[in-house]
Amino acid sequence: MQKEKGALGWALIGIAALFLLVMLVLPLVLVASEALAKGWQTYLRAITEPFAVKALYLTLEATVLAVISNTVFGLASAFLLTKFSFRGKSLIGSMIDLPFAISPVVAGLFFIMLFGRMSPLYPFLRAEHITIVFAVPGIILATVFVTFPFITRELVPVMEAQGRDEEEAAATFGASGWQIFRYVTLPNIKWALVYGVILCTARAMGEFGAVSVVSGHVRGKTNTLPLHIEILYNEYNFTAAFAVASILVILAVLILVLRNLAEGRAKRGESHDG
């Protein structure tokens, strides 16, 4: 393959680098610059302010819960889709892909229709004093909805490529389902799982549209970090908005670094097996 570049090669690299610099790096630099525009004192005050801290906690809560339940689902559904043949398999596969075709705002709307005032469930929920939409459970459900395909999607191709031979051999020797999963399947998909969890985390902590619909925007109660940023920004409190945004930028960069490490490991793992 053409390893020596020549003028055209350098020109293409230059254009691509310039594109990434302007489109991706510049926004990050801007966040840092705006966040620190009024000095460290203001920055620290903005990110330690009670509403910001509460929003951070809610974001972490929703993210952790969504990632844990989606990991269980991701493992179970990927095992189901790759280790067994049964009718209706492709239907389940397409259902798992569905959230990618649905706008997050519409996803939020689904939950309003299910648990809100117009729902057939509403009289019951009200009698039992259960509030789901415009409250924390709604935020968690919306986050789960938007992020549940990620882990399955990462696992299925890897498990498909690995085939069923090892699991079938273990089963013939009398291993239980859990033993097979724990000692045969899991070691093979370890890094793909890490990779999927990272992607899911990234999306969960940043979800905006779906959460915005179901949150009800109650300050200090149902505000996640992205929603808190929106409020600050719309109040023209730009420095505080960018200060809070910088927390999410740091998390995003961290996620990218972890992702690259996991991807590197996953690739090396594959070449060992092959």
Binding site: M1, K5, L12, I13, I15, L20, M23, L24, L26, P27, L28, L30, E34, F73, A76, S77, K83, F86, R87, I92, M95, L98, A101, S103, P104, V105, V106, L109, F110, F111, I112, M113, L114, M118, F145, F148, R164, E168, A171, T172, I180, L199, A202, M205, G206, F208, G209, P226, I229, Y233, A241, A245, L248, V249, A252, V253, I255, L256, R259, N260
Partner: protein, 275 residues
Amino acid sequence: MMKMTKHVIPGFHFTLGITFFYLSLILLLPLAAFLLYSSGMGMAKFLDVVCDARVFHAYEVSFGTSLAAAIINAVFGLLLAWVLVRYEFPGKRIFDGLIDLPFALPTAVAGIALTTLYAENGWLGRFFYAAGVSSAFSVVGITIALVFVGIPFVARSVQPVLKDLDPSLEEAAVMFGATPWQTFRRVVFPELLSPLLSGAALAFARGIGEYGSVVFIAGNLPYETEIAPLLIMAKLEQFDYQAAAAIAIVMMALSFLILLALNSYQRYRVRRQGV
């Protein structure tokens, strides 16, 4: 009904149970509630909402800007994939990792950062405004935000295909005297067309539904820079749930059509190549 077959590996019913329960709770039940509510709306109300001039304009803005962004991303995504696969240069790993930033960065953060960058006195906006282009609070701004969000889709779908391309085809073309451009145009590009289109279609579908990165830079003027997801928000704030549902149905139908078209195109390609 599912046929009962004997599975060698244990755990079929267990994993099927979890998967089915989870999908029912998270996906099917909310979807059913939505469809149930929408079906009570009646055709007259549905058409009334969907054919409203303001709604129609929002579709147009969403559609047009998503299409423009998908085309820009197709060009630059191809370039990014090409540079990453074909050349070695310092900083390549960072370059490669950076492409996924739009997946990792919360859209609201991207939204406020882009708005500040492209505003009239912003770092980049001042050049646009000096040239007479309003880069913020306009369709240009919406397109910029959607380009940002869509960068990884095309690059990541073209990259693996380009990597696996058989080099002997190109060598043969060069040997028969083809210029580099001819080789690219006639030998390489046809192979990349399928992942290029599927990446662009995914970016397009994402663009139509995108909310967080767009609301800040859009300006949200009815009939001018209002996008469909924002209009759903506006209807919700007025407690007009039926109108919100009607707009959502049209958006969902559009996204499904795009993905369906993509799927049938891929199937057609596979059949034609006889793979």
